[in-house]
């Protein structure tokens, strides 16, 4: 570094020089902790193993994505407190992509070669998933537990990618199936309220497909992410009179839609995507509007049942002071992803490398979340992960989520 600096140093103008004088100072500071250990290629050290997370921690979607990261880190903390995996502590390197494809590429490269990790979780920005998918598929670092899944990354199935979140396609099928049966509809008329984004259109297409199979029609209504008032959308919904509504977007999308419908005295049932499952969303809607709202989820929100997985998570979250967010669905999803990480490392064996990890995962594996999620099964032919869903509502009186039926119920809707 010093040689390098000295080479550049005298050639440029004075300002450059000033800048470059600072560089070696910083470099020296930086190298002090660095000299202490030698970083091996795959992120596996004698006492710890490095695992990367690529998520939006300060951008527009950080409100949900950072909670997912918190859940993941808490689960890993629990694992580490119990002695880690194969005697190694799991060290999570969480990189912030600021919901920006360029930052994502930089961070991805960093996790692959600069501070090498054995595998990566998260990848919450779909645009950069698409951009990076050729690199990931041709590369050596597997993506275990994605936060969102795009076709480009997950189709065709690759031993490098393991979905970790509820898929939109199955979500649409399960949600539509559930509501059509519950309301006893013949030719359902459905409206998708979605933010104007790429994902919104994609989700609407899934809904339309599922509705068409049952002989119904689907309408797409869009909304700005930053909407303050949704009168136009509410009026459109009232004119349309759908049998039920499905909502895609940010918490605000669901809250404003439900509140506006309540204002007009309209009681149309609605279900949101999994990401729209947080107690704050229901409290913001209020008991009246919230009564018509549910969300489809392949994860069981904290506190909604007393199965061991749920209890374990709630207890640990309480212990580490995460009571404010432990009921958020993103926290549960992160927690489950954390479990995926520890079990994947378990499989990779004592002498884990990236190649060994990929090899062991590619044979297929199952995650037993002890009731905290729908069954998670990966086979060499299918890495979709959780595909079954339940609808969850919220009881404002007890401040608890309530589930409709069992995960297995949705098996008949999902193809």
């Amino acid at each position: 570094m010093m040689t390098l600096t000295r080479k550049i140093l005298p050639t440029r103008s004075s300002a450059y020089r000033a800048l470059l004088i600072a560089a070696p100072i910083i470099a020296c500071l930086g190298s002090a902790p660095a000299l202490a250990q030698n970083t091996p290629q795959d992120g596996v050290h004698p006492d710890r193993v490095d695992w990367g997370v690529l998520m939006d921690l300060s951008g527009p979607t950080s409100a949900s994505q950072s909670i997912w990261v918190a859940g993941l880190q808490d689960r890993i903390r629990m694992v580490n407190e119990a002695g880690g995996v194969h005697g190694r502590r799991i060290n999570i390197l969480a990189e912030d992509n600021r919901f920006n494809a360029a930052t994502d590429r930089i961070a991805f490269e960093k996790l692959v070669s600069q501070t090498p990790v054995i595998a990566i979780s998260g990848m919450g920005t779909s645009a950069s998933q698409v951009a990076l998918s050729p690199t990931i598929r041709a590369g050596k670092v597997p993506i275990v537990g994605t936060y969102t899944s795009t076709k480009a990354l997950s189709e065709p199935v690759s031993p490098m990618v393991y979905n970790g979140f509820c898929g939109y396609k199955e979500m649409a099928q399960a949600g539509v199936g559930h509501y059509v049966d519950r309301l006893g509809l013949k030719a359902p008329k459905v409206a998708t309220v979605a933010i104007e984004s790429a994902g919104g259109k994609e989700y609407h297409d899934f809904i339309a497909e599922a509705v068409a199979k049952r002989g119904g029609t689907a309408h797409h209504i869009t909304m700005k992410v930053t909407a303050v008032d949704v009168t136009p959308q509410a009026l459109e919904l009232m004119a349309l009179k759908p049998d039920f509504i499905t909502i895609y977007g940010v918490p605000n999308t669901a809250i404003l839609t439900m509140k506006a419908l309540q204002q007009y005295g309209v009681k149309i049932p609605a279900f949101g995507i999994t990401y729209l499952g947080a107690p704050q969303i229901f409290t913001a809607m209020g008991p009246e509007a919230g009564a018509n709202y549910t969300f489809a989820s392949c994860f069981t929100p904290g506190g909604s049942d007393t199965l061991p997985g749920n209890v374990e998570m709630m207890t640990f979250a309480e212990k580490v002071g995460r009571t404010a967010i432990r009921e958020d669905i993103n926290y549960v999803a992160g927690w489950v992803a954390g479990q995926m990480i520890s079990e994947a490392l378990q499989r990779a064996g004592r002498e884990a490398t990236r190649a060994k990890l990929v090899e062991s995962l590619s044979k297929g594996f199952t995650i037993d979340t002890k009731g905290l999620s729908a069954p998670i099964v990966y086979t060499p032919q299918n890495n979709t992960g959780p595909v079954l869903f339940r609808m969850f509502g919220y009881d404002h009186a007890t401040r608890k989520f309530t589930a409709f039926g069992e995960y297995a119920d949705s098996a008949r809707y999902v193809q």
Partner: protein, 365 residues
């Protein structure tokens, strides 16, 4: 450290004549620039493995994106710093470049050199259109008109993306320049380095020629420039066309580098970052644009690296770094910009001479 802090100490008497020394230094600089991508890829030097923080938490993609940003910063500084036209529309020109590349390259499948030429032309046309309000309004009003242009272009991009392409964005293939495929970051690096050098040389040449000088004159005293026969209205439009052509090319490269672009890639914050770069580096200084772009693209990562290094600590600072490292980086960065604006209004290029004077005094005394 001390011998590093004083750039050319006793070397001067050893090489009395000025030009060979300069020649050697240029050679060394080129060698260093040529070696940099190898260093950042191999992450070792002379067989010694270098830790991530020794390399300042930097990677080659970052350097490449910095080089692309340099094109944007250079062109904006030429427009704003040299011609005196403030524009918040730079993201729109990037988007124009990306869009025309999508039409020419992705849709029509024409070769990459044609894509570059086409997007430069589209950018120039867009720049002329965006510059037209400058015939009517000036100052703040003009700033806002460029902002309006930004929203119009962003909307067109959004519609284009949704109507023509898949929902996840506009795809861009691997560019190939006469058989030289830009398939690895290393190849990109050398291509971009050459391009930045070319654009830099071109712009600084133009500033030392008849019309370029007239731009500076127009910025300093419009009426006096007019009285010398300068048609400032045409000159402004020309400057707009030229700089947006460069920005559009940068946009094309940006989109190709990421291989996928969405309308969200070119938001208003994207445009604002270029303004920040030129203010940090130094308004009206092409060199400053390079420094500003380098700082803007590299510093967050460096701060992040250090924040991660100290993140294990306890107490308020430790927990802040652990929980909110991303926000902490933004905070530091914002404060840095504020401090620079207040204490170094001429940008970093202006503190260079001051630092040198200080060092000189320190060496003597």
């Amino acid at each position: 450290m001390s011998d590093l802090a004083t750039p050319k100490p006793a070397a001067a008497p050893a090489l009395p004549r000025a030009w060979p020394r300069r020649f050697i230094l240029w050679g060394l600089a080129l060698a260093a620039l040529a070696y940099l991508p190898v260093l950042l890829t191999e992450r070792m030097i002379f067989g010694i493995y270098l830790s991530n923080m020794t390399l300042l938490n930097l990677g080659l993609s970052q350097v490449n994106l910095m080089l692309i940003a340099m094109l944007g910063a250079l062109s904006l500084n030429y427009l704003t710093g040299c011609a005196g036209l403030i524009s918040i529309g730079h993201a729109a020109f990037y988007a124009t470049g990306a869009m025309s590349a999508a039409v020419i390259g992705t849709q029509l499948g024409l070769p990459f050199p044609l894509v570059l030429i086409g997007s430069a032309l589209a950018g120039a046309v867009m720049g002329v259109v965006a510059g037209l309000p400058s015939l009517r309004v000036q100052g703040l009003y003009f700033v806002l008109s460029t902002m309006a242009v930004h929203y119009l272009v962003a909307y067109v991009f959004l519609e284009y993306q949704f109507r023509v392409f898949d929902v996840v964005g506009v795809p861009f293939g691997t560019p190939s320049l006469f058989g030289f495929e830009l398939s690895t970051p290393m190849r990109w690096y050398f291509f971009l380095l050459a391009l930045v050098a070319l654009v830099y040389a071109g712009l600084s040449n133009s500033l030392r020629s008849r019309e370029g000088r007239a731009l500076l004159a127009m910025r300093d005293h419009e009426r006096a420039a007019t009285s010398l026969g300068v048609d400032v209205r045409i000159l402004r439009i020309k400057a707009f066309g030229l700089t947006s052509a460069i920005a559009a090319v940068a946009g094309t490269l940006y989109a190709h580098y990421l291989s996928n672009a969405t309308s969200e890639s070119f938001g208003i914050t994207f445009a604002i970052q270029f303004i920040a770069m030129i203010i940090i580096g130094g308004m009206g200084s092409l060199k400053g644009s390079l420094i500003g772009a380098a700082l803007w693209l590299l510093l967050p990562s460096i701060i992040t690296g250090f924040a991660a290094g100290f993140g294990g600590g306890s107490g308020i600072v430790g927990s802040m770094l652990g929980e909110h490292r991303a926000q902490f980086v933004q905070l530091i960065f914002g404060l840095l910009v504020v401090a620079l604006l207040i204490y170094a209004p001429g940008g970093l290029v202006s503190i260079g001479p001051k630092v040198r004077a200080l060092l000189g005094r320190w060496r003597k005394g």
